[in-house]
Amino acid sequence: MPSPSAIFILILSVALIAGGIWAGQNINLLPIDASINAPIYDELFKVLFSIGTILFLGILGLVIYSLIRFRRRPGQVGDGLAIEGNLPLEILWTAVPAVVILFVGLYSYDIYDRMGGMQPLAHNGHHQMEKTEERIWGGIGSGTIDSSTGDAIAPLPVDVTAMQFAFLFHYPQGDIISGELHVPVGQPVTMKMESKDVIHAFWVPEFRLKQDVIPGQPTIMNFTPTKPGRYPIICAELCGPYHGGMRSTVVVEESKDYQAWYSKNAKPTSSETSDV
């Protein structure tokens, strides 16, 4: 027959786990999600947040409880219990974290895969010939949209150049050069990025994506925006005195707005210079 204290501990543990799961599901600490992989990211975040909350509150509770329950009261002399160890217990708290870690690892692998992290890094659309020549290193995501969401939409290629202290976006189709990144909602974008001077990083918090932009070593990042809006592009790698001011904007637009922007800025195929 279980003792009352065993029942009490069981209730507490269940409450702790339920509380952790609740916190993971209901406490939202992230900005809005505006790309295909953002909700996938948030899923991972919720699971990690639940596990973290359970672990943290559990240990916090144990420490505070021990400090209160086992504190030396005035006038008390003598020692505590002479417990030097407990092998089954120690095996338990080696095995349980190992299993949790294994679960987290497999789960985050799955998330990574769903984000396109395991797909071969091809920079679809252009520079086909260079591909074998250059060492192109990867960010995340494939240039093609997840086949489950329907027919593959051709990705929009963009060349990104970073320099102290700005980003430049070059659209090979239409030969547009812009300081802001304009992209149509729902279309995958594939960016080939290179830096002119020091290392920078391209980060859009609402997309949950970041990739360093490196001199002498092109990198690739792909994403598919899902919500129209203006989101900050932030340089995340210390790049000099104005690093904090190195920002731009990604404008995610409905298809027709994007087309309007595109035709306004695109160069006629054979003419020399027009408005940039």
């Binding site: 600490l29 992230l30 992989n37 996938i40 990211y41 990690l48 973290g52 672990l55 943290f56 240990i59 916090l60 144990l62 420490v63 021990s66 086992f70 504190r71 030396r72 002399v77 003598g78 020692d79 505590g80 219990l81 002479a82 417990i83 030097e84 160890g85 120690e90 708290w93 080696t94 974290p97 190992a98 870690i101 987290v104 690892g105 985050s108 998330i111 990574y112 992290g117 395991m118 290193w137 990867g138 001077d197 020091v198 290392i199 990083a201 918090p205 949950r208 970041k210 990739q211 490196i214 001199p215 002498g216 070593q217 932030i234 340089c235 210390l238 005195p241 104005y242 690093h243 904090g244």
Partner: protein, 555 residues
């Protein structure tokens, strides 16, 4: 019951007691003097690093860059990081407590190489002074403590070169110390003392020193190549000359990830010494503790690329380093459960040392949890190089190592000085530090996830309030050093006499006078085969545990 510890050295011989504060400015070969030199020198740099941190937090109370020039901000940031890591935490958790305690713990009269030991210490003040004066001469380095090229190649050369030289000196100091610890622990053990009877701090220092000796030379080599790129215009890491910037990152983190364990493993060891004494209980799970330290050492060498998940690393590499990093949590977790189990069923004195140690457990668990999250590539890709990472590493480095340093000072101050600290003031210090620390760094998790990158002097105005909150926490932390300093000075002058063993500890440093004589013991070094033999059911074994009747000692 009360335990009784045979104390042979009640009356320290006047002749053996070194006197005068001047010996702390001398090239002393006494490991205890060197330990205190490390501690005081480290603390002075901590105050300087803290002043720099305050400057950073003042700048960040407003979203625009208005308190100092932008390049000065980057210099302050670089100096802050470098000072806190290389001049405060590494020298203090290793050099200060290691030098003071390890010879006691192995039953030796000094370190294996006393002269090398003094050299190792005396490399630190000039290196630190050089680093700081570079600010006043040509401007300090401004590429962060990581000094990534090509930024470090293109920013003003003078400051960067001085930074490199001083880090090289500090690295040299660290290697000398590491060799000394390994030899002392393995070779100077008193006859009859088995490895598995050593206090846990010895194991922690053995593991740490292995990491130091294996990885610091890689940092040294890397920085020398970097300096060639700067002064001789070679092209190792300069893409304009065909170099590769990613290679630098691999080499740098091959040292700098182990460096985080160099900062925290000794702290793990110190906590393992402090808790059993004040809980009056044996350290729980001694053997698993030893194995988990060694597992951390091995795993710690193969996780470095988790700092490079956005650097353009191939997918297989990202996966390997995710898995290796995640698994470090298992041995680390074992240690935490063991400490909690050490508390469980104890007779815990709620003094400053215990409070800081328990504060460490709580803070570090949070830092470990965010560490596991950061180890997951898809998670890290969003928060890498943001304030989330700043929060993570302050939870482990400040909430972990610095809390343990304070705990250790409260615990060993009576041994160092022969005087007791004021406990109420100590508990007050803990409270302000704990609140200030969590207020300063807790909200930074949110900042990072919501779009604030690290190392910036200006930011999106939507983050103003949370940054001000963080700055208030920093102010509390700065103020919390005042009661601490007062306590240290006041108690040194007027504190009650501590006696040899105020905490009734069983580890060997308590079995001599406070402060201990030159060469540590008047007579033979005691053979402590059960350093954690506390506990009520163990009267007989407690009595046996201190047996200074046999064996020769080796000095």
């Amino acid at each position: 019951m009360t335990i009784t510890v045979p104390q042979t050295n009640k009356q320290p011989s006047e002749k053996l007691q070194p006197t005068g504060w001047l010996r702390y400015l001398s090239f002393s070969l006494d490991h205890k003097v060197i330990g205190i030199q490390y501690l005081i020198c480290g603390f002075i740099f901590y105050l300087i690093g803290g002043a720099l941190a305050s400057a950073i937090r003042i700048e960040l109370t407003s979203p625009v860059s208005d308190f100092m020039a932008r390049d000065v901000y980057n210099q302050v940031l670089t100096l802050h990081g470098t000072i806190m890591i290389f001049l405060w935490i590494v020298p203090v958790v290793n050099g200060a407590f290691g030098n003071y305690l390890i010879p006691f713990y192995v039953g030796a009269r000094d370190m294996a190489f006393p002269r090398l030991n003094a050299v190792a210490f005396w490399l630190i003040p000039p290196a630190g002074l050089m680093l700081i004066t570079s600010y006043f001469i040509n401007g300090a380095a401004q590429s962060g403590w990581t000094a990534y090229p090509p930024l470090s190649i293109t920013t003003p050369a003078a400051g960067q070169i001085i930074w490199i030289i001083s880090v090289l000196l500090l690295g040299g100091s660290s290697i000398f110390g590491g060799i000394n610890f390994i030899v002392t622990i393995l070779k100077l053990r008193r006859p009859g003392l088995q490895l598995m009877q050593l206090p846990m701090y010895c194991w922690a220092m053995l593991g740490t020193s292995i990491l130091v000796v294996l990885s610091t030379p890689v940092l040294a080599g890397t920085l020398i190549l970097l300096s060639f790129d700067i002064v001789a215009h070679t092209g190792f890491f300069n893409p304009a000359l065909g170099g590769n910037v990613i290679v630098y990152q691999h080499l740098f983190w091959f040292y700098s990830h182990p460096a985080v364990y160099i900062m925290v493993l000794p702290a793990f060891g110190l906590v393992s010494e402090i808790l059993p004494v004040h809980c009056r209980k044996p350290l729980f799970g001694y053997t698993t503790m030893v194995y988990s330290i060694m597992a951390i050492v091995v795993l710690g060498l193969v996780v470095w690329a988790h700092h490079m998940f956005t650097s353009g690393t191939p997918p297989w590499m990202r996966l390997f380093f995710t898995i290796a990093t995640s698994f470090i949590a298992v041995p680390t977790g074992i240690k935490f459960f063991n400490w909690v189990a050490t508390l469980w069923g104890g007779r815990i004195s709620l003094n400053s040392a215990v409070l800081f140690s328990c504060g460490f457990i709580i803070n570090f668990v949070l830092g470990g949890i965010t560490g596991i999250a950061l180890a997951q590539v898809p998670f890290d890709i969003h928060v890498h190089d943001t304030y989330f990472v700043v929060a993570h590493f302050h939870y482990v480095v400040y909430g972990g190592s610095v809390f343990v340093i304070f705990s250790s000072i409260y615990h060993w101050y009576p041994k160092f000085t022969g005087k007791m600290l004021n406990e109420n003031l100590g508990r007050f210090h803990f409270l302000i530090t704990f609140i200030g620390f969590n207020l300063c760094f807790g909200p930074q998790h949110w900042l990072g996830m919501n779009g604030m990158p690290r190392r910036v002097a200006e930011y999106d105005p939507q983050f103003t309030f949370v940054n001000q909150l963080s700055s208030v926490g920093a102010l509390l932390m700065a103020l919390s050093t005042l009661p601490f300093l007062w306590n240290i000075f006041q108690s040194a002058l007027k504190g009650p006499i501590a006696g040899d063993n105020p905490w009734q500890g069983l580890t060997p440093e308590w079995l001599t006078s406070s402060p201990p004589p030159v060469e540590n013991w008047k007579g033979e070094a005691p053979l402590v085969s059960k350093p954690y033999g506390y506990g009520v059911n163990k009267e007989e074994s407690t009595m046996e545990s201190v047996d200074d009747a046999q064996g020769d000692n080796n000095s």
